[in-house]
């Protein structure tokens, strides 16, 4: 095998106003032709920075402070800007994470391809077009000739990522840097894209650096794996070897934190190495204000949430004429019960309607038909319905994106106290403050967080704040809509542990929505699989994962990247 890339002692700095951030320290890596290297690490570990440094696309003020990067024997640190530009596309191709935003929305796919091919290979327009068709065909786009004239928005997410790959291949590069190429995609599409990258790598003898936070992806596709932690390379080696017998403590922690689809554990083994959990002074919830039920919430028997024949259609195209309107059936005749104290999982790919169901229960959408009862109380389809308003004190939601679900102009105390103040749950302000402090302590943030603002916290910390806010109105039911899909694995493990603990302490009922089957496997008691707005199967955790009945459930389980098989 010929060596393509040889990185020696690479250090990358980000000089800030009064300190220098060492983003990457003494990084060594060799990439051979025809092999895929998985570069793994959590957010902030510096893995994307390495990728950007190789192509000379480091964001300002980042710079390579020392070390060498040899590409096919030449030290590219000696290259001028113009030489670097010619290196990009022609010899090193790049694939970015989000196919949604990687393509120019105002240009046809054909134009973008032809432009790149002409620039990189100097072909005539006609030949470039022929090559563009060839490339699209190669990455598996049906009917490439006519698709040349389509705009990016006319492709689905997976198809768009294929177009991005075609563009990365347009200049016939020897090395591909793929920066989280499947993170924005559904599992079924993810596995197709991974297979495509593997095939292209084998057929063309390319070297591929696959930057990812997902160990499942690495185990599926990579030949070798390099693990980064806080800017340093901690472990490199053959995939099977590293995943089976990790040598470095961090790698061990990282692998333990990955939810296993095989067996259900009560808690994740916690990974303290990454986000050191603040010294926690947990409160005794049972005797605390938080442990008492709100006045007016009577203990009742029977299911906590009952959904019967619920349907909701969204209008895609509006018109004065009824016949001209088009609808998409987001939720189609869905029925299920959630027992008190149970964790009920809702899984499916994006667009399957799982989040819509959660929003209907939370009162953010109204169902067209069907009944919803919470604790036996029927909830009417109006905003000011009395039962609905009442339900808001004991039903709370934790959303997916911790960055956009908080008002950035409010400090943490106000954010967490808002539900209490709104529902007038406390007797006075000093009691409210005391409860906020206790809550922040309890979710592992510490009361010092109260005076700070959301932007000062990491994603995992923000999700803790969101959980504290959800708990502030003393809910009996918690709806978690993909609560960890924006987080790193180790942070995910911590948040899931926190949710588990809280459920045990408070006896919460949970509706847990996720596209991530291993997470659902760890968290839920019963699971409903959704597709195209319909529920395919409702089964207990063990039944679903050990003997799925519905063909679609089996399909989903097959696609799941499995570490154990690696």
């Amino acid at each position: 095998m010929t060596q393509l890339l040889d990185i020696r002692n690479l250090c990358i700095d980000f000089p800030m106003r009064n300190l220098v951030l060492n983003a990457v320290k003494n990084f060594d890596l060799q990439v051979n032709a025809g092999e895929i290297i998985g570069l793994v690490g959590e957010s902030g570990a510096g893995k994307s920075t390495v990728g950007n440094a190789i192509t000379g696309l480091l964001g300002k003020p980042g710079r390579i402070s020392s070390g060498e990067v040899y590409f096919q024997g030449e030290n590219i640190r000696d290259y001028t800007d113009e030489q670097m530009r010619k290196l990009r596309g022609r010899r090193i191709g790049t694939i970015f994470q989000d196919p949604q935003s990687s393509l120019n929305p105002l240009m046809t796919v054909g134009k973008q391809l032809v432009e790149t091919i002409q620039e990189c290979l100097g072909l005539k327009a006609k030949d470039a077009e022929a090559r563009a068709i060839e490339l699209l065909n190669d990455v598996g786009i049906p009917d490439p000739q006519s698709r040349l004239n389509s705009y990016p928005h006319q492709f689905s997410g997976g198809m768009r990522q294929r177009v991005v790959i075609a563009l990365a291949l347009a200049g016939d590069p020897e090395l591909i840097i793929a920066d989280e190429p499947t993170t924005a995609l559904d599992v079924s599409i993810q596995s197709q894209i991974l297979k495509l990258i593997r095939r292209i790598c084998d057929e063309r003898g390319l070297g591929v650096i696959m930057v990812t936070h997902d160990i499942g992806v690495v185990s599926e596709i990579a030949d070798r794996v390099a693990v980064m932690f806080r800017g340093e390379l901690v472990e490199v080696g053959d995939v099977n070897q590293v995943l089976r017998l990790p040598q470095h403590e961090y790698t061990q922690n990282l692998i333990v934190a990955v939810p296993s689809p095989d067996k259900r554990l009560h808690r994740f083994t916690c990974v303290d190495l990454i986000e050191g959990e603040a010294a926690q002074s947990k409160i005794d919830v049972q005797s605390h204000w938080l442990g008492k039920t709100n006045a007016g919430v009577e203990a009742s028997v029977g299911p906590a949430i009952q959904v019967k024949n619920m349907s909701l259609a969204f209008r895609l195209k509006n018109s004065v004429f009824k016949s001209q309107r088009t609808f998409v059936q987001a939720v189609d005749n869905v029925s299920f019960d959630i027992q008190q104290g149970e964790t009920f999982g809702l899984v499916g790919e994006s667009g399957s309607g799982k989040s819509t169901v959660a929003k209907i229960i939370a009162g953010l959408h109204f169902a067209d038909t069907g009944d919803l009862s919470i604790y036996g109380q029927k909830i009417g389809p109006k905003h000011n319905d009395l039962a609905r308003r009442h339900s808001r004190t004991f039903l709370q939601v934790v959303f997916q994106d911790p960055y956009s679900s908080m008002n950035s102009r409010m400090n943490i105390r106000d954010i967490v106290a808002e539900p209490m103040r709104f529902h007038r749950l406390t007797e006075n302000e000093s009691q409210t403050r005391q409860i906020v402090d206790d809550l922040l302590d309890h979710v592992g943030l510490g009361k010092t967080a109260a005076r700070r603002y959301p932007h000062e916290f990491s994603g995992g910390q923000r999700q803790r704040i969101a959980i504290a806010r959800a708990l502030a109105s003393r809910p009996r039911i918690l709806i978690c809509d993909e609560p960890t899909s924006a987080l790193d694995v180790s942070t995910q493990a911590q948040i899931l542990n926190l949710l588990r603990d809280l459920q045990d302490e408070l006896g919460l009922t949970m509706l847990f929505i996720s596209h991530d089957l291993p997470v659902v496997r760890q968290m839920c008691d019963r699971i409903a699989v959704m597709r195209h707005g319909k529920i395919c199967e409702i089964a207990s955790n063990e039944d679903l994962f050990e003997s799925p009945q519905h063909a679609y459930s089996q399909h989903l389980l097959n696609l799941m990247p499995n570490l154990g098989a690696a």
């Binding site: 696309l57 990009r88 596309g89 790049t94 970015f96 120019n104 790149t116 705009y151 928005h153």
Partner: protein, 320 residues
């Protein structure tokens, strides 16, 4: 097509509302008879005049008559000049439209070029200078700029005339000043004055949009494919700034016509704006009503054009 139809319905609705407002001016802005009749007219003369003008009919009948005439291009006769309003506007229109066109060209050329430059090289000293001097354009009122320009170029340096249109050439009813050197010398100062505010607006908007787009992933991906800076800046980035920029330019051309009232007054430019100011001074209601309707029509037309331009620029709108 369907979209166009919907838009035309809206246009009709807007025009009906505006026509009603301008019609109401006849009824609520004083009694037109007082300015029409000679001072020594008797009550009987007044009644006869009222009857002749149809002022005794119901409001709806009068409105219907106003609309019927307006659709045929008849807006009555100016109280002051005793000339049909339509003719009056038609004779003044070329002056205003030429002024607006020249200043729009100035504003778009300078605004877009300087904006793109400042967006691509935000750190260079030139873009910092452009940006800080553009503050003056945003904050100084039009008449101050006009008077300052007159003082410098017409009074002190005596390079350019301070007022009027200069030599005009008649092109089949359209009197143009764009075909003589003298006409160009005359149009320069008012056009620059009128365009200054718009130039700075467009400049700042294009710059902000460019900075925004340059951060987008598809620009980074274009870089990663080894495209040249020129292809990235003009082929990819600039086009993506066009949707908001077109909106603002469209609105601003309407604004140019509205602002031209002040500029035309300062430079004694014989356009519709000056005509309007003179009409206000004399309570010449038919002229005011017609001008109102005319400006509203222009605005609606421009915003319709802008919406249609979106279709050309952004393929995503074509589908939805």
């Amino acid at each position: 097509m369907r979209y166009l139809f919907g838009r035309l319905m809206q246009v009709g609705l807007v025009m009906i509302i505006v026509s009603f407002v301008s019609f109401s001016m006849f009824n609520f802005v004083g009694d037109p008879l007082s300015s029409l009749l000679p001072e020594d007219a008797t009550a009987a003369d007044a009644d006869r005049m009222r009857e002749a003008l149809g002022l005794n009919d119901t409001v709806m009948t009068q409105y219907g008559r106003f609309m019927t005439n307006a659709v045929q291009g008849n807006f009555g006769i100016s109280y002051r000049l005793k000339q049909p309003v339509t003719e009056l506007i038609a004779s003044r229109l070329p002056a205003t439209l030429e002024l607006v066109a020249v200043s729009a060209v100035i504003a778009i050329t300078f605004g877009v070029t300087a904006g793109v430059f400042c967006g691509i090289r935000p750190k260079s000293w030139l873009s910092k200078t452009i940006l800080s001097s553009s503050l003056a354009g945003v904050s100084l009122p039009t008449f101050v700029i006009g008077i300052a320009l007159i003082y410098i170029f017409a009074v002190t340096l005596q390079w350019l005339p301070s007022s009027g249109r200069g030599g005009t050439v008649d092109l089949g009813g359209w009197k143009t000043s764009l075909l003589t050197v003298d006409g160009w010398r005359s149009i320069l100062l008012p056009a620059i004055t009128l365009s200054l505010f718009q130039t700075t607006m467009i400049l700042r908007l294009v710059r902000a949009e460019m900075l925004e787009v340059m951060r987008a992933d598809f620009i980074k991906f274009a870089r990663a494919r080894g495209l040249t800076d020129r292809a990235i800046n003009f082929g990819h980035a600039l086009r993506n700034t066009l949707v908001p920029v077109t909106t603002v330019i469209g609105m601003n051309i309407g604004g140019l016509i509205a602002f031209s009232v002040i500029t035309e007054t300062v430079f004694q430019w014989p356009g519709t704006g000056l005509m309007f100011i003179q009409a206000v001074g004399f309570v010449d209601i038919p002229v005011m009503a017609a001008y109102l309707l005319f400006v509203a029509g222009l605005f609606v037309l421009i915003s319709l054009t802008v919406d249609l331009l979106y279709f050309l620029i952004d393929p995503r709108i074509r589908l939805s």
